[in-house]
């Protein structure tokens, strides 16, 4: 068909890398045993799951008995937060940020409804949480702090070490949603002082359908499900062996290639930012440097994000936006709003997230076609001429 795509939405999901896919396939085909079975293909499946656990642990600086496999990032976050709160029992206070992914934010709002108190910390215009704010928010009954490692929309990387230190000093359990961080920046559960950490396989070139929760030895977590004895009963259900194997491989490789990947992506990212910002009335969202190596997020004034995405798609370019039209709700992104963006800028935001396989040629191609698209949409816009007068 000759359809060539430039995929710049690696924060939404990523292609499964060849090596991970290859290691998965036998477990999808002839090696189909249930890891709980005692005969040969069962034992082999068990070994594969345990090897993936070791690889995952290694990549996060953790021990393998601290890794619990889940179906993805949403499950890991829910299990971590609700698991800790239910394990503690009674009403408590939780601290989080106002730019978390819905899989943390909405969990916190649910816990609020259940009678717990939640502090949603503000962020600065770059999306940074101030560790001092965390300290100030601590109350005698604060039992959990959850702040994401890196933001999925604007890519801002939080000062986790410092936030973790505050939590540790105050004897508070610290969770981080590292779904966007894993495979993109160095992750180390000890350096970050975290007790709980969530990852999702499909964000780092592993398959969909697998995730993990790191839980530091001794962290009390009540399971969300009951069933079989899998994952030490913290997460019962037949293991998704092929996806777990693929995730382990993908994470191991990503961790090994990280310095090189960061260098490459940062180069492309900076060229893309520079090119976009050289257009008229385009502003950068997020932090100029403390951001994920593959994240570019800008607002293009006078045009609406979805129509920009559709136009880019017609040119074979895949990207994302924080506009209401693409958020599945009637409001623009809560992240952009928390950064202080007016509605117009939030609706006009576009995110390009680079990943494995992107090239500088693709960036140049994008930079070539986007001015025409922007011009066309602005000419159509009811707010453009107006504002220019």
């Amino acid at each position: 068909m000759g359809y060539k795509m430039i995929y710049l939405d690696n924060a939404a999901t990523t292609p499964v890398r060849e090596e991970a896919c290859e290691e998965m396939l036998p477990y999808l085909k002839e090696q189909y045993g249930n890891p709980s079975s005692i005969y040969r293909i069962g034992r082999e499946a068990r070994n594969a799951v345990e090897e993936a656990r070791e690889r995952t642990a290694e990549a996060l600086g953790a021990r393998s008995d601290e890794i619990f496999f889940t179906s993805g990032g949403t499950e890991s976050n829910n299990l971590a937060l609700k698991g800790v709160v239910r394990n503690r029992g009674g009403k408590m206070h939780i601290i989080t940020s106002s730019i978390e992914h819905h899989a943390v934010l909405d969990v916190c709002m649910e816990l609020e409804k259940e009678g717990h108190e939640v502090t949603f910390l503000p962020v600065d215009r770059y999306g940074l949480v101030n560790p001092g704010d965390v300290e100030k928010a601590v109350k005698p009954n604060t039992s959990l702090v959850t702040v994401m490692a890196a933001n999925n929309e604007v890519g801002t990387i939080q000062p986790l070490e410092k936030i973790g230190a505050v939590a540790r000093e105050n004897n508070i359990i610290f969770h981080t949603d590292a779904v966007q961080a894993a495979g993109n920046i160095p992750v180390d559960v000890n350096k970050w002082n975290v007790d709980l950490l969530s990852i999702s396989s499909h964000k780092f070139n592993g398959p969909k359908g697998a995730g993990a929760l790191y839980a530091r030895k001794g962290t009390g977590i009540t399971p969300l499900w009951q069933g079989g004895a899998q994952e030490k009963k913290l997460r019962p259900g037949t293991e998704n062996v092929p996806a777990i194997v693929g995730m382990g491989k993908a994470l191991e490789l990503a961790a090994g290639e990280l310095p090189e990947k960061i260098k490459e992506l940062t180069g492309m990212r900076d060229r893309l930012m520079e090119g976009l910002l050289s257009m008229e009335e385009v502003v950068l969202n997020g932090h100029p440097s403390r951001r994920l190596p593959g994240n570019v997020n800008v607002s293009i004034k006078y045009i609406e994000g979805e129509s920009l995405l559709l136009s880019l798609d017609m040119e074979g370019i895949a990207a994302s936006s924080g506009s209401a039209c693409t958020s599945g709700s009637l409001d623009p992104s809560h992240v952009l709003t928390a950064l202080g963006l007016e509605h117009e800028l939030a609706h006009g935001s576009v995110r390009f997230s680079l990943g494995k396989g992107n090239t500088m040629e693709e960036i140049e191609y994008l930079l070539n076609v986007i001015p025409g698209i922007v011009e066309r949409l602005r000419q159509m816009s009811s707010v453009y001429r107006q504002n220019k007068r």
Partner: protein
């Protein structure tokens, strides 16, 4: 998400622009929900013989504006007043449910433009 007809109107919208000295102008929507549509009409002898639009909004907003201008062209004011947002959606062969409300306001903008024309007329 969008059907072919919508995508066709989105990629080749009809009657984009403004009319100099229009008979009436109507604007609906707001920046909060992210759709602002503006319809310009030129009326002669009770007939809309020119109509243009400018829209800030998503694909559905742009396509519905575009298809509306096609539907209105050459209609009498009475006929035009009977066109509803639902008719526009039907003309587009269906809009995604989420888009039915906030992005499907082109007919409202048209009605406002007709009102504006009538007010101007009365002046």
């Amino acid at each position: 998400m969008y059907n072919e007809k919508i995508m066709e109107h989105f990629s080749c919208p009809r009657n984009v622009g403004e009319i100099e000295n229009p008979s009436g102008v109507g604007e609906v929507g707001n920046m909060k929900c992210g759709d602002i549509m503006k319809i310009f009409i030129k009326v002669e002898e009770g007939i809309i013989n020119e109509v243009k639009f400018k829209t800030f909004g998503c694909g559905a907003a742009i396509a519905s504006s575009s298809v509306l201008t096609e539907m209105v062209q050459g209609k009498t004011l009475e006929e035009a007043e009977k066109i509803t947002n639902r008719h526009v959606a039907e003309e587009l062969e269906g809009l995604p449910p989420l888009k039915m409300h906030c992005s499907n306001l082109a007919a409202d903008a048209l009605h406002k433009a007709i009102e504006d024309y009538k007010v101007n007329l009365g002046k």
